[in-house]
C-alpha cells in the first residue's frame, strides 16, 4: 500500500447497482425512464395510427373507446402522437445534455488541469455566462437563429454549458489536489494520461448524476420554448407544442391539455427520481 492507494477504480463504486435498486426513487425513476425508452424505440410498432394523419377518427373524441387517449382537433390519434412525442422528447433531452455535458466537461477539466490564466479566463467567462441565466441564453439563441425545434435544442444545450463547466471544474479540482494526482505528475505522467486516465473517470460519476438531472431540466426548457411557439413547428407531435395547441380547446376538449402535460411531468419526474437515486447510490457531492 503506497501513496497511490487512493486511486479510485474506474468501474462504478462497489455495490452501486444494489444501492440504486434499493432506493425507491432510483427504482421508480429507472422504471419510468426505461419505459420511455421502450416507447420511443418502438413507437412505430406501438402506435396504433399514423400520428400526423388527420381524420383518423372524428374530431375531439374523448379518451376511452376506440381511441385510448382520444383524438385532437384534426381527428389525429392522441396515443400515437404521445408515443411519437416520447421519441422527440428523449432526443431533445439527450442532444441538449450532450452539448452541455461535452462542452462543459471540456471547459471544466481544462480549467482545473492547466490552472493559471487559462483557468482564470475560462472560469470567469463561465461565471459571466452563468449570471446570464439559462433562460436568457436560450432565448437569445432562439432570437438569433429563429424558431425551430433544432434551434431550441441547441439553445437549451448551450445555455446549460456554464453550469456543467462549473460542476465539472469543482469535481476536477478535488481530484487534482489529491496526493495520487501530484504523485502521478511527479512520476512523469503526460497530460493526456492525467486527463483521460485519472481526471475523466473520477469526475464522470458526478457528471452522470448532473446529466441525468439535467435531462429533466433540458426537456422542461425545450418544451417551454415549444409551448411559446419558439421550438417545434407543426405537425410535430412535440409535447410542449401539443400543449400550446390545446389552449384554444380548453372548454371543448380538456384532455388535449391534460395528456401532453402529464406526459411531460412524468418524464421529467422519471429523470429527477433516477438522478436522485443515482446521487445517493454513487454518493458524490450534493448538487444545489
Amino acid at each position: 500500500m503506497g501513496i497511490l492507494s487512493d486511486v479510485p477504480t474506474r468501474s462504478a463504486p462497489h455495490g452501486f447497482w444494489r444501492r440504486l435498486l434499493r432506493s425507491p426513487n432510483g427504482v421508480v425513476g429507472l422504471t419510468i425512464v426505461l419505459g420511455l425508452v421502450f416507447c420511443a424505440m418502438f413507437a412505430e410498432v406501438l402506435a396504433p395510427h399514423n400520428p400526423s394523419k388527420m381524420g383518423t377518427g372524428g374530431r375531439f373524441l374523448p379518451p376511452g373507446g376506440d381511441f385510448f387517449l382520444g383524438t385532437d382537433e384534426f381527428g389525429r390519434d392522441m396515443l400515437s402522437r404521445i408515443l411519437h412525442g416520447s421519441r422527440i422528447t428523449l432526443l431533445v433531452g439527450a442532444v441538449a445534455v450532450g452539448i452541455s455535458l461535452t462542452t462543459g466537461m471540456l471547459v471544466g477539466m481544462i480549467a482545473a488541469f492547466w490552472r493559471g490564466w487559462v483557468e482564470a479566463v475560462l472560469m470567469r467567462s463561465t461565471d459571466v455566462l452563468f449570471s446570464f441565466t439559462e433562460t436568457l441564453i436560450a432565448l437569445s439563441f432562439v432570437a438569433v437563429l429563429g424558431p425551430s425545434l433544432q434551434n431550441a435544442v441547441i439553445a437549451v444545450g448551450v445555455a446549460g454549458i456554464p453550469f456543467y463547466a462549473r460542476t465539472c471544474y469543482s469535481a476536477a479540482l478535488v481530484e487534482t489536489s489529491k496526493p495520487y494526482f501530484e504523485a502521478s505528475i511527479a512520476a512523469g505522467a503526460g497530460p493526456a494520461r492525467l486527463v483521460f486516465v485519472h481526471l475523466l473517470p473520477n469526475v464522470l460519476p458526478t457528471m452522470i448524476v448532473v446529466a441525468t438531472l439535467g435531462v429533466s431540466t433540458a426537456i422542461l426548457a425545450a418544451a417551454g420554448l415549444s409551448f411559446l411557439g419558439l421550438g417545434a413547428q407543426p405537425p410535430t407531435s412535440e409535447w410542449g407544442y401539443m400543449l400550446a395547441g390545446s389552449r384554444d380547446y380548453i372548454n371543448r376538449a380538456p384532455w388535449l391539455m391534460t395528456i401532453p402535460g402529464l406526459a411531460i411531468a412524468i418524464t421529467v419526474l422519471g429523470f429527477n427520481l433516477l438522478g436522485d437515486g443515482l446521487r445517493t447510490s454513487l454518493d458524490p457531492v450534493e448538487r444545489r
Binding site: 436568457l136 389552449r247 380548453i250 419526474l269
Partner: protein, 307 residues
C-alpha cells in the same frame, strides 16, 4: 465584508459590460436586414431612403464603431426605437418592467412562505414518513412544468369558476401567475432548506447543544434555523433569476403585461432593438438582485461580516 461585496460588484459590472458587447453583436448574427424588415410593408420607400435609415442607425460603420455608438447612446438612456411602430425601447420596457418585478417578488414570497416551512418540517422529521412524503411531493413539484400548471390554474379558477379576472394588471390578476411560479419554486426551496437544516443539525455545535440536554425546540430556534437558512438566502439570487426566466412563459399564459411577454412578441416580430433592450435589462436586474442578495448574505453570515 466590503471586499466580498466589492468583488461581487466588479463581477456584476463585468457581466453587464459583456452583455452590451454581445447585444451589439447579436444584430449582426441574425439573418436578414433589420432595416429591410422595418420597411417590409411599405410600398414607396426608395433604396436611398433605406440607406439613409441605415446610416442614421450606424449600421454602415465598422462593428467597433457601432459598439461605441451603442455605448454612447446607452449612457444617454437611449436604447433605440422599436422596429414595429418606432417607439423608444427604453419607454416600452420601463412600462412593463415593474409588472415583471412585482410578479417575480410575489412568486418569491409564495415560494419561500411555502417552501421553507416544508423543508424545515421534513428536516425536523428526517427519515420519517412525513419527511419522505414531503420530499416526494417536492420532487413532483419540481417535475411539474410550470406552463402546464399555469394552464390548469387558468382553466379552473379563471375559466370554469370565473373567480379571478383574466386581463389587466391589478392585484387580483397577480394571484394566478404568482401562484404558478411560486409553487414550482417552493419545491426547490423545500429541498434546499431540508438538506441545509440536516447539514447543520449534524454539525458539532448542534450536537453539543443536544448533548447538553437543551430542548430540541430551543436548539432548533437558536442554532439550527439561523445557520440553516444561510444557504437558502444565497439561493435567493439564483432563484430570482429563475423566476424572471419563468415569468416569460407565465406572463404569456396569463396576459400579464411584463417584459417576458414583450420579449416573446418581439422575437416573433424580429424586433431586434426590443430584444437587445430586453437582454440588457434582464441581465442588469439579475445582476443587481444577485449583488443585493450577496450583500444580505454578507451581513447575515458572521464569518464574512468580520472578514
Amino acid at each position: 465584508m466590503w471586499r466580498f461585496i466589492g468583488t461581487r460588484v466588479a463581477m456584476g459590472a463585468l457581466t453587464i459590460w459583456v452583455t452590451t458587447m454581445l447585444v451589439t453583436l447579436l444584430i449582426h448574427a441574425v439573418p436578414g436586414d433589420p432595416v429591410q424588415i422595418m420597411y417590409a410593408q411599405s410600398q414607396g420607400t426608395t433604396p436611398e431612403q433605406i440607406e439613409q435609415v441605415r446610416r442614421s442607425l450606424g449600421l454602415d460603420r465598422s462593428i467597433p464603431v457601432q459598439y461605441l455608438m451603442y455605448l454612447e447612446r446607452l449612457f444617454q438612456g437611449d436604447l433605440g426605437n422599436t422596429i414595429r411602430g418606432g417607439q423608444p425601447v427604453l419607454e416600452v420596457i420601463m412600462q412593463r418592467l415593474p409588472n415583471t418585478l412585482v410578479l417575480a417578488v410575489a412568486s418569491m414570497f409564495i415560494a419561500i412562505v411555502i417552501g421553507v416551512p416544508i423543508g424545515f418540517l421534513a428536516a425536523y422529521r428526517e427519515g420519517t414518513i412525513v419527511d419522505i412524503g414531503l420530499m416526494v411531493l417536492a420532487i413532483a413539484g419540481i417535475s411539474m412544468p410550470h406552463f402546464w400548471l399555469g394552464l390548469m390554474l387558468l382553466f379552473f379558477f379563471a375559466l370554469e369558476l370565473g373567480w379571478l379576472p383574466v386581463s389587466g394588471n391589478g392585484p387580483m390578476n397577480l394571484i394566478l401567475p404568482a401562484l404558478t411560479l411560486g409553487l414550482s419554486n417552493a419545491a426547490i426551496f423545500a429541498r434546499l432548506t431540508r438538506s441545509s437544516m440536516i447539514d447543520v443539525m449534524n454539525q458539532d455545535f448542534v450536537q453539543t447543544a443536544f448533548a447538553k440536554g437543551l430542548p430540541k425546540a430551543i436548539v432548533l430556534r437558536r442554532h439550527v434555523l439561523r445557520a440553516g437558512l444561510l444557504p437558502v438566502v444565497t439561493m435567493m439570487g439564483l432563484q430570482f433569476a429563475f423566476m424572471m426566466g419563468g415569468a416569460i412563459v407565465v406572463e404569456n399564459i396569463f396576459s400579464w403585461n411584463g417584459v417576458g411577454r414583450m420579449a416573446v412578441e418581439a422575437i416573433f416580430q424580429r424586433d431586434y432593438p426590443i430584444i437587445q433592450g430586453f437582454i440588457l435589462t434582464f441581465s442588469v436586474v439579475v445582476v443587481v438582485v444577485a449583488i443585493a442578495v450577496d450583500a444580505l448574505y454578507a451581513v447575515l453570515d458572521p464569518r464574512i461580516r468580520r472578514a
